[in-house]
Symmetry: C2
Subunit: 350 residues, 2 copies
Amino acid sequence: MPQSGAGEGELAQKIKLSTIADALGVSTATVSLALRDSPLVAGLTRERIKEHARAIGYIYNRRAASLRTSRSGIVGVVVHDIMNPFFAEILRSIESELDRSRQTFILSNHYDQLEKQRTFIDTLLQLGADGVIMSPAIGTPPEDIVMAEENGLPAVLIARTVEGAEVPVFRGDDAYGTGLATNHLISLGHRRISMIGGTDQTSTGRDRFQGYMTAMENAGLEVKPHWRIPGPRTKQAGFEAASQFLALKDRPTAACCWNDLVAIGLMNGIARAGLVPGVDISVTGYDDLEEAAIATPALTTVWNGQREVGRRAASALLDKLNGQSVRPSQELIRPELHVRQSTGKPRERV
Amino acid sequence: MPQSGAGEGELAQKIKLSTIADALGVSTATVSLALRDSPLVAGLTRERIKEHARAIGYIYNRRAASLRTSRSGIVGVVVHDIMNPFFAEILRSIESELDRSRQTFILSNHYDQLEKQRTFIDTLLQLGADGVIMSPAIGTPPEDIVMAEENGLPAVLIARTVEGAEVPVFRGDDAYGTGLATNHLISLGHRRISMIGGTDQTSTGRDRFQGYMTAMENAGLEVKPHWRIPGPRTKQAGFEAASQFLALKDRPTAACCWNDLVAIGLMNGIARAGLVPGVDISVTGYDDLEEAAIATPALTTVWNGQREVGRRAASALLDKLNGQSVRPSQELIRPELHVRQSTGKPRERV
DNA sequence: CTGAAAGCGCTTACAG
DNA sequence: CTGAAAGCGCTTACAG
């Protein structure tokens, strides 16, 4: 309802605690307590106050309250890019977890630009945010996180680690995960396997590459450096990498991709070139996005536990806010291989 | 930098304006003015103050400021679902537009639940947000928007209209857009065309269906009711609709889809059934997501101006905040047909 | 060009 | 169970 006494289109007199107090002949302290269901206020008084507040359309001023209590009810979330469905799935589970504690969340993309990330942390500090969940931008120095914590903004990391920052980290076991995918391809009979996408500049990138290398070495397979095509992390880039991949000397029979987006883009590119992904070339993804199951062919990929990551990160942060001590530790979610139709035996004899 | 004088891991004494004022022997008024680059303060004084503030790691308290000024620097954005790339693209352009005015934005999904949307608007009111950009949930009564505006929260709508709400609306000309797609199919020789996805409960849904119907009627083509498969709006749902579509009596030779997601899902389903989209069945999408161009086959679709929608909506809201009068009007972005490989002549003689 | 003082709208000890 | 008063950290007239 609009505020009582509002004239034609004009803003009414602002309704505040004292408006209610005056109308009911009680003090603002009593109103404040009543609205927050304090047992200190008599049941009848409380009901009268709450009913009146509702009737005249009172709006609680959180800025004023938070200035006094120094709790704002705001949590910041900053990731590389929300357009990436991997993060979008994480965000959804963060959202539903925070919702239950009536925390509002502010979202930002840093696009791996340190400056954008710093501006956002600064904004959170100025707003008096209660905490931040972040997938740190490439090159984030531990000091940035220490600074936030020292100024009363507890942090929890997702997806990527920052060496030297003593905060909880929730992410998948990336080395183990790409190991699963690579071993799956090897067990199908593939001997020449490409690794497509990703970067050495993030912990995730290094771990995933490591998992692939280790699996190849353990199987006694040679890895030619040019079989690795670093960089792509999007569908578009995967699509564009297809021609480069197909033109490779000693062309591999399979590609272990950085993530599902790259894998799907690559498959599209392979199909565009007249080859059949899953038959002519085997492809694995990473993340198991909702979309992986309906790709053509359905994508063999590694489930990365994004729902879990989001849920646990949010709940760890809430624990921190509520004063419970949360150990700075690496929580590794164990990935699982989901085999579908994009992988098969190599076509040619090896 | 951490605050000066911080002990081992302990939170330092909070640094505020008066800390700086005391240290420099000036008043808080002068410090406040200086930090905001007021010309009222002598250049030298200003520099001394700003330098000192930086040195001791002063953090501006926006809650306190906004309590005083009643401007919070916060803008709310609420959409159906940020995981939908259509909205994700809009959000990006909103973000870059707001960034330039140093406004922070708070994001929320309402998943077409009125209750979630109301909770969010309430939160914005409590935080004293400066405005809201929304794609209204199905069934949003105009009163909800009027209430927000009367309480000092100006609103701008995107993508969907709410009858009776006197606020600016930015969206594509949906009827015209599906008309483009349908006419394209007709001109290729298709006579039986299906409409897949969408709902009559939103203005967008009604408009898109209307555009399809009008085009069919103008071409003197019959439309069998069961050729319409309402509902799907996601890739998954489009995928699942494929079998229903393929089993249709008098099966249409083409499908005009609600959006790109449905179209891509449908094409995947068609391919899974052993038919070739673009050859056996023509498919059109809507939105022209980045992904449309790299789908297999590349998707013929209607560009919906999402970048434009986001940019203009944000800039209209900023104008409103700055006191410029913004007419409540429908801004229809004119869609464009982008022809690619998912459409062709009908295979069978008609 | 600078300072003293009031006030934004809450909550929290402290009395009673 | 309820009230009077101080204070959170800013900004804004108002004086000088």
